[in-house]
Amino acid sequence: MSDATPHPQPVPRPEPQYATMDQQAEAASFGMWVFLATEVLFFGGMLLAYAWLRASHPDGVAEAGRHTKVVIGSVNTLVLLTSSLTMAWAVHAAEHGRRTALTRLLAVTALLGLLFLGLKGYEYHGEWAEHLVPGLNFQENGPHARTIELFYFLYFLLTGIHGIHVTIGIVLIAVMAVRARRGAFSAGYFTPVEVTGLYWHFVDIVWIFLYPLIYLAGRSGP
């Protein structure tokens, strides 16, 4: 890459409670790990509710699962996985102090995130049109109507909260991209990019769990 900057690299000083930048970086990334532990349990509560629903009404969940839009879901999975790749690549670029590459890769990651949200919104729109939104316009008859309503209730909750996480991630990545462009990071200092990357991978992993639970529930097995 062609971004050998002539002016001297900025050397940020640690905040007063840290002795060295290394110590600060370790604390930041450890803090993110602890935060992600919280997040796992946050989604865990909802997944327990899902497990309960599926265990007590297996047929209803299977039927509801067949209503989901598996094509959009699969494309979105691909989009998010790709964005994780570009994110990892961005962290790699940051490690080697390649500023332009870092900026571009972050921008691509954020755009992929936006694409995910756009597709998700399109999917929601379809579900609204099909009267699958519990509490607002749910209309479904048949023996499993109640279970389908509960399934969609959890679906909107899980994907909605995941969507909020994606949105926060996009904002963080955009901020990182702007800062990278301004030359805030160097091979010696890129902790914020690394921590943002951790968060983004987590958001991605949550989706990896949601995808089979939502889209494949009624389509798997005999």
Binding site: P16, Q17, G31, L150, F153
Partner: protein
């Protein structure tokens, strides 16, 4: 040891020029935007005091109502009062009490750090707490909530006519405040220890707060999501907790207690930490069995995640679930017992003095032992069938939460008061308050064990006349207890202005927090200390100095 500085005279110039209370300025703005963990601790202490008195006022009215069998208030008012009392005391006093005040103030000092790892997050946590607190008070003022602090569905989601969603939002928000605090403490303990401060040189107070933080970080999000589910169920009439909508109310109880039982340990573990600091200091002896005390805290925080269904022995769980959860509940009683034995053994062959913090600590050990032992009663499968949801349970958890945790809070408050303010509190007043609290507490809550066995149910605004005699004892005790709690407010307030200067180490205690001036400078230590010894290296008193 520099015990000679008790009079504090030599310290005065230091106090006047450079400490955290004045260094950053004294404007309101300098306080509201501070990142100093000590200032944030003060902000927390002030706001917690307000909530303690709000919750206490509700408790007073509850005890007043229960003086007569017919009750004084209408049932709707009474139901709102105990809900208010529960929500405020649990989430706005007990859970943040020791971690957010003393923990905030002392953890960096005790490990030799300049601040917590994430000072801005720490301030954000206080703002979340305040926002949540105002939301809760707002919900109370515009009409209140009548679900009890447990928010059981389907009553809370479909039947209650109170401002349930507002209250849920308040608890949701305060949950994030405690998650952020826990996260901060964990990272700080891992990453900011001074050179030589190995894990086994950490004071037990730090260990206890660490164990507490683990629970905060791992259990609170489950509460958050559970309350969110209830709120959506109430707003949209879809949900998975109401059988009429295809759901299951027991699922709510499982999720709720998955947080709320570990939350009991959030409330008591930091108290263990405070007692483990006070007892060695006033017995002038190292803590007996340091590693056992430490690991019992960790054991409690881990096993605490696997006992939640003991709240549901009569709720319709399976027989086998009952058998397993009861056994685990007996297992978790063991580490608590270990602590009590170790504190008692610490007294053996010591040089015990009875200053107010020690009185609170001894009171704590006594009351916590009673609370813990009655925990064996309610963890017992069959016995729980008779007493669950009665005043026996009420008395049991008040012995832990109030007899235990609030005693520890007051003990810690007095013990570190000189460090925080630079002033000594009036000793005799403090001893009187400690004794009043101990006796008032027992008079209030011991009769409730008997009431519970007789069959007086929880959350009753009116009760059969044969229960009145014990209720009068209880209410009488509550008035003594109230005096005990109000007293410190006055004499501690007085000492802020008139108390004797404390000096850096008035108790001749070990621990890094006593090695820096009182009040400490903004960044705690002028030079980062190096630690070479385990904690609690109290030496035998030299005889002549005592006499």
């Amino acid at each position: 040891m520099t015990t000679a500085t008790v009079t504090g005279k030599p310290e005065e110039p230091v106090v006047a020029t450079k400490n955290y209370l004045t260094e950053e300025g004294t404007t309101l703005r300098s306080w509201l935007l501070t990142r100093d963990h000590k200032r944030i601790a003060i902000l927390y202490t002030l706001s917690l005091t307000v909530f303690f008195f709000v919750g206490g006022a509700a408790a007073t009215l509850i005890r007043l109502n229960l003086v007569t069998p017919a009750g004084i208030f209408t049932p709707d008012i009474y139901n709102r009062l105990f809900t208010l009392h529960g929500i405020v005391m649990v989430w706005f006093f007990l859970i943040p009490s020791i971690p957010n005040t003393m923990g905030n103030f002392l953890i960096p000092l005790m490990i030799g750090a300049k601040d917590l790892a994430f000072p801005r997050l720490n301030l954000l946590s206080w703002y979340l707490y305040m926002g949540a607190g105002f939301l809760a008070l707002f919900a109370i003022l515009i009409g209140g909530v009548d679900t009890g602090w447990t928010f059981y569905t389907p009553f809370s989601s479909l039947y209650s006519n109170g401002y349930v969603v507002l209250a849920l939002a308040a608890v949701f928000a305060v949950g994030f405040s405690s998650i952020l605090t826990g996260l901060n403490f964990i990272v700080t303990t891992h990453r900011l220890r001074a050179p030589g401060m190995t894990w086994y040189r950490l004071p037990v107070f730090v260990w206890s707060n660490y164990a507490t933080s683990v629970i905060m970080v791992l259990a609170t999000p489950v509460l958050a999501i559970t309350l969110l589910l209830v709120a959506v169920e109430r707003l949209l009439r879809v949900g998975i907790f109401d059988p009429a909508l295809g759901g299951d109310p027991l699922l709510f109880q499982h999720l709720f207690w998955f947080y709320s039982h570990p939350a009991v340990y959030i409330m008591i573990l930091p108290g263990f930490g405070v007692i483990s600091e006070i007892v060695p200091c006033f017995a002038r002896k190292p803590l007996f069995g340091y590693k056992f005390v430490v690991w019992s805290s960790i054991a409690i925080s881990v096993i605490g995640f696997f006992v939640w269904a003991h709240h549901m022995f009569v709720a319709g769980i399976s027989l086998y679930a009952g058998l397993v959860f009861s056994l685990l509940s007996y297992v978790i009683a063991v580490p608590s017992a270990i602590k009590v034995f170790n504190w008692t053994a610490t007294l053996h062959k010591g040089w015990i003095s009875f200053d107010a913090p020690m009185l609170y600590a001894l009171g704590f050990i006594g009351l916590f032992t009673i609370g813990g032992l009655t925990g064996l009663f309610v963890a017992n499968l069959a016995f729980d069938v008779h007493v669950t949801d009665t005043y026996f349970v009420v008395a049991h958890f008040h012995y832990i939460m109030v007899g235990g945790m609030v005693s520890a809070y007051f003990g810690g408050l007095h013990y570190w008061w000189p460090k925080v303010t630079g002033r000594l509190y009036p000793e005799w007043w403090a001893r009187i308050a400690a004794l009043l609290i101990f006796f008032g507490f027992n008079l209030t809550f011991f009769p409730q064990f008997i009431l519970g066995y007789l069959g007086m149910e929880r959350r009753y605004y009116a009760y059969p006349p044969e229960f009145q005699a014990w209720n009068i004892f209880s209410s009488a005790g509550a008035s003594v207890l109230a005096v005990g709690y109000v007293l410190p407010f006055f004499y501690l307030g007085w000492s802020l202005f008139r108390g004797k200067r404390a000096g850096s180490n008035p108790w001749a205690a070990t621990g890094l927090e006593w090695k820096t001036p009182s009040p400490p400078p903004t960044h705690n230590f002028d030079r980062t200390p190096t630690v070479t010894r385990p904690p609690y290296q109290y030496r035998p008193e030299p005889e002549p100095q005592d006499v």
